[in-house]
Each structure stands twice: as C-alpha cells, then as structure tokens.
Symmetry: C2
C-alpha cells in the first residue's frame, strides 16, 4: 500500500508516527508494510517510490520547518509525479472554498485513487460531488476523523449499525464549547471560561468558529450527507452558539438537575446546532473536552459514543481505522 | 442463509421479528432472504426446509405456549435432522453447567456450522474451547449480544479499533444495579430502590445474580477472553456487589461531585467487579438502566459506548449485527 500524505501539520505527522508504530501489524495482517511514497506540506514535498522513513519525515519537519527539499507551486503536479494507491488528505481546513484539500481529493478520485481525509472543508462544501466521483471511479472514500476525532461515529453508523434504521443523531461535536460549558457548571462566567479555554490551547484567539457553533455545524453537515444520504451544505444548518449563555441559565439548569450543552442534531428533517438542556447522568451530559454522539435507531434504541474530538494521535487513530478498512477490502 | 433458532423466549422471538422486518434489506444486500428452517423451544420444535414464517412462529408460541407441534427429548437429534447454515443459540443462560446452550453450540461447531449466541453461560464457562472448536472447523462464532445487549462493545473492539492496542475496558455491565444506584443518588435507601427495580421488572425476585455482581462478572469474563485473549473463567473474577452500599456512602460521594457505580474492569492483569467512585459528567457516570463501557487504547485514548443492556428488540439488534457480519463474509 503506497500512501501519499498531503498536509504535514500535527495530524499528518501523527499519522506518519502511527504508520511507523504499526508496521508489525501491517506485515502480520497483510504481508506487507505501508509505504509513505510522498509527503507534502504547504510548500515542499519529499518522495521516494521505495518509501520514506515516517519518523525521519517528522524529524525533518520539526527541525527544518519543511517536510522535503523540493518546493512546488501546484500540488496536482506533485501528485501526478508519484505512483500511489491512497491519498491521505490532512491539509488545513478551509470551509469557505475547500482550499487545496478539495483540489487534491478531487484529483486523486479522478485518477482512481482511494482517499482518506479528516478535512472538514471539502466534506462540508462538496460532499455529494465527492461521493459521486468516488462511486464513478470505484474508489474508497473515507473520513472517520472529520467528525469527533477518535470517536468512531461514522464507521459505527455505516458498519456496526448497518442493519438498523437510524432515526437521528444528537451530539456534542465541539470539545471547546463543552469545556467552556463544563467550567460554567462549576460557577465560572462565560468570559472567564473562554479565556481559560484559550490559555489551555483549546480555543483559537478568534474563537468564533467554535463558540458560534460553526465547527459543530460542519460535522452536522457531514453526518447528514454521509449517514442520512441528504444533500445539504453548511448554510442549511440552523446554528445558535453558546456566547449568550449566562451563568444564571446554567444555575437554573443545575437546580433542575440538568446541564446546558451545545448539541448538534441531524435527522431526515432536522439540521440544527443549538444549546440544549440535558439531564445530569444522560450520556450527552458529559463534562470536559470530550465529544459525544447518541444515535437513535429502530431496533437498538439509543446508542451513545464518546471520545476525544481532537489531538495528534487521536485523529491519526481515526485515519488508521479507515486505512485498515481499505486494506481489508483490497485483501 | 438457513437459520436454526434454539431458544424461543423473548430473545428468540425478538430475533424472528427482526428477520421478518429486514427481509427487504437481506434481498437488496445479498440477493436472498434469511430463512428460518427450524425453531426450537425447550420441548418442541417446528421445521421447514423452505423456511418458516417468522411472525407466525411468534404468534403460535404466544397462543399455544409452544413453538411447534413436534416434541423432542434430544436437541442434537433435532439439529441433525435439519439442513442449516447458522445456529442462533438463545436458550436460557445457565452459568453453572452451560446447559443445553453449550451442548447445541458445541454440536453446531463440530458440524461446521456458524454460530451466533447471546447465551452468557457457555461463553463464561468454556470460551477457549468454543473459540478453538470454531477455528478448527473454520466456523464463524459471534456473541455481540452477550455483553451489554444492544451496545456494540465486542465488535467495536474487534473491528473499529482493530489497529489499537487496547489497554483496559471498564464498564457498567448490569442495568439493574445501575438503576438501583441511580435511585440511591436521588436519596432512596438500597432496599427501597431494589424493591422498585423488582416492581419495574428489572430485578428478579432472587436478585443475587444482579446485585452481588455475578452477572457483570460473566460479561467481564467474556471480554477478558474475547478482547484480551485471556483464558479465564467466572471463578477468576474478584467480585464485590452493591448490597452493602449505604445511603451515607452515596451522599458522601455526591458531596464530592461523584456517584457510585458498579464497575467491571478487564485488562491483561485485572479482572474485577466492584463499586467505584465515578466523577459526575464522566462517561461512566450515567444514570438509569443503560450499560456503558470505556475502552482505553494507545492511540484513540478513552472511547466510551453506552446502550440498552437488555430488551427484546435490543438484544435481537445485536444478533442482527452479527448475522450481517457473517453474511458479508460469505458474499
């Protein structure tokens, strides 16, 4: 399996480290290693048809600030210069245009390559087109890490619950908001909880993407398209963030044995992100930076899953699960 | 796919209903229906090589008190008289001897048939033997519903998290205990909460199997053997139940923002069921009759799942997920 990694920030590096740590597993299960034949960051690339050393790529990136010696202008030309089976697209998310990630995914699928991505931009903007392209060219297209990081929500719906009729998914899809709301549960006012989230590195200096619910809305769009077969985009989501939640509202909820959580909800007819009252002890009443989702289906009833929504290893673990599924299908 | 159902109580009937409700799905995915060629209860059976009507089986059982007109003494002779591909073993659990369920599973595997069971007795007593028999005869042997009902814990570990190194699983594996402890959170004393659980039909009139932790211990044994590759049995588990938990202990926990939950824990070195303090807002701090499990692995970190631990449709949904996996593998 020859892999081209596009994007060599935290997630790309984490994935390279995971590949290095799992070569024994790949050899045992598939009789061969996973070869990283090319790694691109935003300006440079390294390539070797015999495979690059994953840990050396990480080391070079961290010491030299670039993944390779070769510079490029056009990522498509780099992709065309390499023989690969699978694109792992983990460049920075651009939810306005899809960015270079969208270009790379489209090009790989058009060339008949399998694709794994965690890049929410292309998925939130162009899901039906990308799925259509993958079907037409008989490529695998997987994106477990794009919703909830390490939490295996998409594969759970598609695989474990394949025989179920899924009625709705409600979830906590933004760990930063959940951290802030959890701090408000212990009496902190919103502004102070937000500052603490920023100091902890959970929230950006411009926190709008998190606290206004836009990030959660992207995940809701991905679930609506991939699990419910809908054809929706970011602008179809009714979004309310958490910036107007007062300490008084949180205290009133607590007095009724409830907490306030920012919940994304998807069903055949619903597409919404908004603060909701959740009973304490409910699977969606969790505290801290975890993500969570509760899937309601006709036979199993409610099944909830929680996991870390972000992180280097954690997001790489989601890519690994997609990689294993693709390699199993090729066996 | 020709199925023999052994056991036609709540779960067997629920499975028959699920088969009836999913024939469109089976036709679309596999180009054929699932045929129930034989159904046995404890004394009678019905069989038809062309397939029995699943809903009529349920109706006959509920009106006549028996699933078929034919009586039998020896279940193995009935099995030998039928051409089938898959045994669905859902007869009553017997954790002392394994009961007729163990006999039926062993016989089916020896005859090269695939087996799905939710019967904890054979699994908690004879796991290594059964897995060995399945491997030797190249049969699929699946048992998702035996731990946590609808909660897909086993398939999650084996499939979604296949590339992870799982370090431990901690979970709530008995909904009755969790119901009682949740009621104690709202101030009820133990005895009253237990009576309420009995009135609601959650606890048996002899509640020892639940409240002394024996049922949870069976699930811990199944996870230890199936996920951690250990070779343990019921008597290897350190078990403490919930009958000595006082209202004072629950109140003291609450004053520290904690709840008391009966937690089963499995790892390479641990095998335990005992009451533990869990922080409020933790994924294992849930209330009510739900089951929950938190899997700790090297890349994904903690992933938790919750679902209904029992119920007619819910347990049948776990059997359905195993059935789909087996039919996919045969495609």
């Amino acid at each position: 399996m020859r892999v081209l990694i596009s994007g060599f920030g935290t997630v790309g590096q984490g994935f390279a480290e995971v590949v290095a740590s799992r070569q024994d597993f790949f050899r045992e299960r598939y009789g061969k290693e996973v070869r990283i034949v090319c790694a691109m960051d935003s300006k440079t690339y390294a390539s070797d048809p015999d495979g690059l050393d994953p840990l050396e790529l990480v080391s070079v990136k961290n010491t030299a600030g670039r993944v390779g010696r070769n510079t490029y202008e056009d990522s498509v030309k780099v992709m065309d210069s390499v023989d690969y089976d699978l694109l792992v697209e983990v460049s920075p998310t651009d939810v306005l245009t899809g960015g270079v990630g969208l270009t790379n995914i489209v090009h790989a699928l058009e060339c008949g390559k399998d694709v794994i991505t965690v890049n929410k931009g292309p998925l939130a903007l162009k899901f039906p087109e990308l799925i259509g392209l993958a079907r037409k060219n008989r490529c695998k297209f997987r994106f477990e890490g794009s919703v909830g990081g390490a939490m295996p929500i998409i594969n759970l719906c598609h695989e474990n619950l394949m025989g179920e009729r899924i009625k709705s998914i409600r979830g906590i899809f933004n760990g930063t908001c959940n951290y802030i709301l959890s701090k408000m549960d212990s009496g902190q006012p919103f502004e102070q909880a937000l500052r603490e989230a920023q100091q902890m590195g959970y929230a950006e200096s411009d926190p709008a993407n998190d606290i206004e619910g836009y990030d959660a809305a992207c995940k809701v769009v991905i679930l609506a398209n991939s699990v419910f077969g809908r054809n929706v985009t970011f602008s179809d989501v009714n979004v309310t963030g958490i910036s107007s939640i007062t300490s008084e509202a949180v205290a009133l909820a607590a007095a009724n044995n409830m907490v306030i959580r920012l919940i994304g909800e998807v069903s055949d007819s619903k597409l919404e992100v908004s603060p909701r009252l959740i009973p304490k002890g409910h699977p969606l009443g969790i505290s801290g930076t975890l993500n969570a989702a509760q899937i309601l289906s006709d036979l199993a009833g409610p099944i909830a899953i929680t996991g870390r929504g972000a992180g280097r290893k954690e997001t790489a673990s989601a890519i690994l699960s997609d990689l294993i599924a693709i390699m199993d299908a090729r066996k």
